[in-house]
Symmetry: C2
Subunit: 326 residues, 2 copies
């Protein structure tokens, strides 16, 4: 086996080049020091992903890195925050190799450039099992402007960005449980491996949404979180849930997959409620930001899990338990 760099050489060679923000102190200190701008609040979120739980150990290392980072950026965007940077705690299995690290950090570098962010700090350790990655992301938002889960009001329109279900279907493709046509398989698998955090939607969410969160545990389950936090009820039209052509074809071939689509999770789209009078302006601003959004339902008085209606307005009997990595 080729000699591997020690911890300090590893940091020097692969992680220091990622620490472009002055707050990172070039990773030459014990901590990052971030100077807030006047009038801003900090938004902090953390997500841990582990081999065999959230990704396959043999997934491409650059894509593992990008997904671990992007699920955090998705949380920031849903709060209306602009991403600043992140801290990375990395537990490496005994058989890590330098080429693997090079590809992993290459994935981080590509996404840092794409999203205009920097590594701010980190910790590298031996894992007691498989690869484990904990990322804490830092974002900023004008004071008092963070968007919470708790602001939905009866009459608000429920919106979701992009398309729903691709991640859950892509996981099925990745694990061999679903075999669509080649093009659809590639599309779905890619959506599972590399979600697209809707960072461009953050200022639009901040301006118009009464509540928002990102869809990670499943559309229906996450809307239930908004209903819980806001003390409201919701209805969703199943035919209004936006599907990609690949997801649409999969559900047409096997209608039972609709439940997976709305409950499966791993979407990393933004779920937002918007007052009805602002809905057209929200749609226009989202389009101007390059992010498609779809109105999928309505907030109502009451409580309980969201009701999903079929095309004739009858409640669908869908399993409503959300996807929990646990």
């Amino acid at each position: 086996m080729a000699a591997r760099p020690g911890e300090f050489a590893l940091i020097e060679r692969y992680f220091r080049p990622l620490a472009s923000d002055p707050a990172a102190l070039a990773l030459a200190d014990d901590a990052a020091v971030y100077r807030p701008r006047a009038g801003e609040e900090l938004v902090l979120t953390t997500d841990l992903v582990a081999a065999g739980v959230h990704f396959f150990p043999d997934d491409p290392p650059d894509l593992i890195a990008r997904k671990a980072l992007r699920v955090n950026l998705s949380d920031l965007a849903a709060k209306g925050a602009e991403a600043v940077g992140y801290l990375l705690a990395l537990a490496l299995p005994g058989d890590w190799t330098e080429p693997w690290i090079r590809r992993f950090t290459g994935g981080l570098a590509a996404d840092q450039q794409r999203y205009g962010i920097s590594l701010l700090g980190g910790d590298t350790s031996r894992a007691c099992g498989g690869l484990t990655i904990a990322i804490t992301a830092l974002g900023r938002v004008p004071k008092g402007k963070a968007v919470h889960r708790s602001g939905a009001k009866p009459g608000d329109v429920v919106f979701v960005s992009g398309t729903i279900g691709d991640g859950a279907l892509g996981l099925r493709v990745r694990s061999g449980a679903l075999s669509p046509a080649v093009g659809a398989a590639r599309y779905l698998r890619n959506r599972y491996l590399v979600p697209e955090p809707r960072v461009a939607l953050a200022p639009v969410v901040r301006r118009f949404a009464s509540s928002a969160m990102d869809v990670s545990d499943g559309l229906v389950g996450d809307l239930a979180h908004i209903c819980d936090a806001s003390n409201v009820a919701a209805t969703v039209g199943s035919s209004r849930v936006p599907l990609s052509p690949a997801a649409r074809a999969a559900v047409a071939a096997d209608p039972a997959l609709l439940s997976l689509v709305v409950n499966g999770g791993d979407d990393y789209e933004i779920l937002a409620t918007v007052p009805a009078k602002s809905a057209p302006a929200f749609v226009a601003a989202a389009a101007a930001a390059g992010v498609p959004v779809s109105a999928i339902g309505t907030i109502a008085k009451g409580h309980g899990p969201p009701v999903v209606l079929d095309e004739s307005g009858r409640p669908l009997a869908l399993a409503t338990s959300s996807h929990v990595h646990f």
Copy 2:
């Protein structure tokens, strides 16, 4: 096996009570929102600990929790920062039990009260191996007042808080490789299991130190980091390194243990350099804060690893490689 709570019940029952700071939004959202006070900077640090690497899987759960938290608080204190709170990413092995979680979160609760901090956010997941804990701590410091590794100047006095070597000796005791008298064994093991972050020293470090860091990888290796970052050299008098009575007895019985003491790590004491003219005031202020500090050496022009001198001023031949959890 008794039924275990699901992820949401677990958060509700055990983690939400820890989220006392308004910034945590009662863990009912996707992120924490922290409002900086005027004139403050944020200090961020992350540390990951894993079963079998940093602790024994059968260590008491409350002590595992406290150590995971305290190693981060130690980093903040060494930068002169006051701790605000932390985010916790927790990967649980398949065999976790509710009583274990109760004791683990009980340890966090005790230390939150002790240090006046709050859980701000987190993520709970299944581990792909043993228990893995990644904590990101948030601290605050007046603008421009964070203490870095890079400020040591020739002529500065090298100080260290508390006593050195107890953690490394305690790990030997814990693993059965060292068997001192019962009282000493208990003391050393406890120092390994539950380090004491020197949070009371933070304002003193901020006021007087030209550079500082916490001793986690070993006194000599960490002083080498300060020398590297500051582009200076250092000498340390081995007889001036403060030892507890238990460590003193262990080294008296086996002089070879001196190398373990100064290189072993897991001390979580503060290593600081102070201009000679401020040294008496630094000692007095540290005493007033309730933290003993010892002058152990001097910063000089030059570069290279610190030189450790014996009582007659001759360089000791000690292994200088520091302890790396890797």
